[in-house]
Symmetry: C2
Subunit: 222 residues, 2 copies
């Protein structure tokens, strides 16, 4: 049977995809993360297995999640691995896909809406704009602590031609001063705003142009 690596989106149950909803309703087993939208598992028939992680709190090691994926994936039942956001954007979906591939278990990836785009959008902020931002970059705010040094060239990133957005675990983004400081291109009239997302997973700290779209509410004070 297939294991479905499914993105549940950024927190709003309405941002679940039609395909994700169908797979959740049809699953025999669902291995789910902490940061999935509230209520989406209410009333489902599947066996529910919580495999969530919480920075600084109790959590299941990735190796144990991998082991469970293989165990359930070879059990003859339809398995949904339900992850917050998109499985392939800071979700370790790539690592889990590789575990399944190595175990010879068929899998399918169902993309989800990433908070890196949706959280700014819910605050009224477009991450690209024809005249103001030719691109958007999502950068981890939490590199693997076992990695030898940072992979991030901050000088080059400061010259990125658009929006920069940083993903930070909720446990590390409790104050406005904690997010990494983004590119401002040194150009007034840009101003700095911290955007709070639908779920407390990301803090997207970025330069917001004075293009006029963003304003209170829903924007937060600078």
């Amino acid at each position: 049977m297939t294991v479905y690596l499914v993105g549940a989106g950024p927190g709003d149950p309405g941002l679940l995809t039609v395909r994700a909803r169908e797979l959740i309703d049809a699953a025999d087993v669902i291995l789910y993360d902490r940061l999935i939208p509230p209520g989406i598992l209410d009333g489902v028939a599947a066996e529910l297995v919580y495999v969530g992680k919480q920075g600084g709190g109790p959590q299941m090691p990735q190796e144990e999640i991998d082991r469970l994926l293989v165990q359930y994936g070879t059990g003859g039942r339809t398995v949904v691995r339900l992850k917050g956001g998109d499985p392939f954007v800071f979700g370790r979906g790539g690592e889990e896909a590789l575990v399944l591939r190595e175990a010879g278990i068929p899998y399918e990836v169902v993309p989800g809406i990433t908070a890196g785009i949706a959280a700014p959008a819910y605050a009224g902020v477009p991450v690209t704009h024809r005249e103001l931002a030719s691109g958007v970059a999502f950068i981890t705010g939490h590199e693997d602590p076992d990695k030898a040094g940072t992979a991030i060239d901050w000088g080059a990133l400061a010259r990125f031609p658009g929006t920069t957005s940083y993903g930070i675990p909720a446990s590390r983004s409790t104050s406005a001063s904690s997010p990494p400081r983004p590119n401002t291109n040194g150009s007034p009239p840009f101003r700095r705003t911290t955007v709070r997302p639908p779920v407390p997973y990301w803090t997207s700290s970025r330069s917001i142009s004075s293009c006029g779209i963003c304003g209170p509410p829903p924007c937060l004070p600078t």
Copy 2:
């Protein structure tokens, strides 16, 4: 009445969000783009207004789309502006939101799944990876031709610490040699692959690591 700026996702009807589906079904008027998933408007009760653009082909000027948004938005009916992908990722959704804001018309943005993430995922490619890619950048492959010079610092982009993905109109991506050449970090064992998406809108040309997930099928030959 509210105008809903709705993302329809990258082409797979299953990647429409639950909220988008509900709004399409409840709309009185739908102004829709060329690159929306096949079949999603079949049988809807709304008045359908095609406002699509096609590079090199017939198209409606953005000013006319803006005018129609204001016209329908002040007509007392529920309006859905349906766009391929995500409205705020290379979709001019920011510009249309600003037009609505300036006209005093309430609007709501409903994020959609962007092809920049989904197209690589459908080819088996995770755009981030804990050890291999600390971020992902989406860059326009088609800057506004009226802009004075490029906004893109290609040297800095070559030092981006992760995946780079370029959005190119289908009319400009008909050959493997046409996409911009991405960052390879100069590091073997990276190899170059052109990823073909669910709809022919994006060509995501990027460095793909040898992490082992990507392989034929569904990957295309390098």
